[in-house]
Amino acid sequence: MRFRDLTIGQHIPGDSVVHRLDPRTKIIGTALLITLLFTVDGFLGYLLAALAIAAVIHLSELPWRFVLRGLRPLLMILLLTVGLNIFLTEGEVVFRFLFLTVTREGIARGLMMGTRLVLLIVGTSLLTLTTSPIQLTDGIESLLGPFRRIGVPAHELAMMMTIALRFIPTLLDETEKIMKAQMARGADFQSGGLMQRAKNLVPLLVPLFVSAFRRADELAIAMEARGYRGGQGRTKFRELRFGRIDAVALSVAVAFTVVVGVFF
């Protein structure tokens, strides 16, 4: 299946500096990176951002090949973005081919948008690659904490995310099982027109929904049986600790973002 190529959302355990950073540092760092990529305008800025990402990949000790593989499933979107920008931007005409016009501005914009997307994907996938889902949701919960006063259900949101992430592999397994069972009864999920294919999915989707609801019900009961009453007064087994390397990493990230964002 194609799912396996998707590195976004996958976690590779490790013991590098990047892995050991507090998840909050990494979340804020990623947010800074996203902001930076949308404010920078010009190739030098992108080059600096790319170098920064490369430095983080190096520090994370992840295999390059693996990090870059995350781009593969998004290749179509990438090509489409670059293509549309190249062909649809108006400006100084470089050459014409049939009904297509390529402009100097188009090429520049296309390349820029492509670079921005690539850096966005690689940069954000670094967050999930080096942070386990549990750490990630702990981090989000802690960051949302201050907003609780204005009614943001921080703990509940984090719990929902944890459960959703936890059940992705389970549901994939279930999908495969039901597909096989229906294929054993002669179901066909591969051929036919669009309408026919959509109709063929009914024997897959109905049991999948039924089982998802059943699991939700069982999980809710299991949680209540263990005394779960929401986040009120709940203590944590794994406390988040904002240490010295976090302070250093965050300072560097902020400084970098400000400098590159303002000057490039």
């Binding site: 229906q182 294929m183 054993a184 009864r185 002669g186 066909d188 024997p203 049991p207 089982s211």
Partner: protein, 285 residues
Amino acid sequence: MSIRLENVFYRYLEGTPMETTALTDVSLEIQDGEFVAIIGATGSGKSTLIQHFNGLLLPTSGRVWVDGVDLTAKGTQLRAIRQKVGMVFQYPEHQLFGETVLEDVGFGPRNAGLPEEEVVERVRRALAYVGLDFEELKDQSPFELSGGQKRRVAIAGVLAMEPGTLILDEPTAGLDPKGREEILDEICAIKRERGITVILVTHSMEDAARLAERLIVLNRGRIALDGTPVEVFRQAETLKELGLGLPQVTELMHELKSMGWAVNTDILTVEEAEEEILRVMGGQR
């Protein structure tokens, strides 16, 4: 309709760090009309093995023939094979989807392109095999039935294709003793009446001993033992090493023997045991 496997290997997630070998060099042949039970500890490869019998999984290397057709050859019509080799998965009631029992049980025959009258006839027959009443249930939603009835409807969904080979993966898991008994009896009745091949995956040594003519014991993806129930259950030591056991009565006969009674230990059912014990006690009664 024979099934033949030759040097079958199967690896999950090949080429990734998570690669695991589920089947190692499995060769076997199942003849027309046999009743085979497949036993083995959890994770021994039973479910992986049976999925090779109807082409849901294709071997990483090795070859599979069903009815003389090579499933591993390019362009083999696997859908046609799956009409001939019916497969009931674990907890088959989890695949129910139809608005009515008729729609759900008729899914297989309808996929085979049969005319509607024939589909209805097959559904009627299939429901009768599992002891359900067609007129009473046909318009009901399968989701409103009891657990045991759901299981039967799901099994009927496979029977309705009238396959020449029926594979069942723990069909009685999670049922009460009465439900287990009834479903196994129904399977035996179908086998008797239609002369089909039955392949049963089970954790129950009693069921394996009582129902099957042949046992295949799997251990870590390899065939450990293959023979008649008597032959297999003679290997008590090996079975224990593999995390399996003997049927309770056979165990009892072994106990009696170790206590000095000259009983025959090739005994698989309570009736046989009764006869044997009476014979040994002979005049002493």
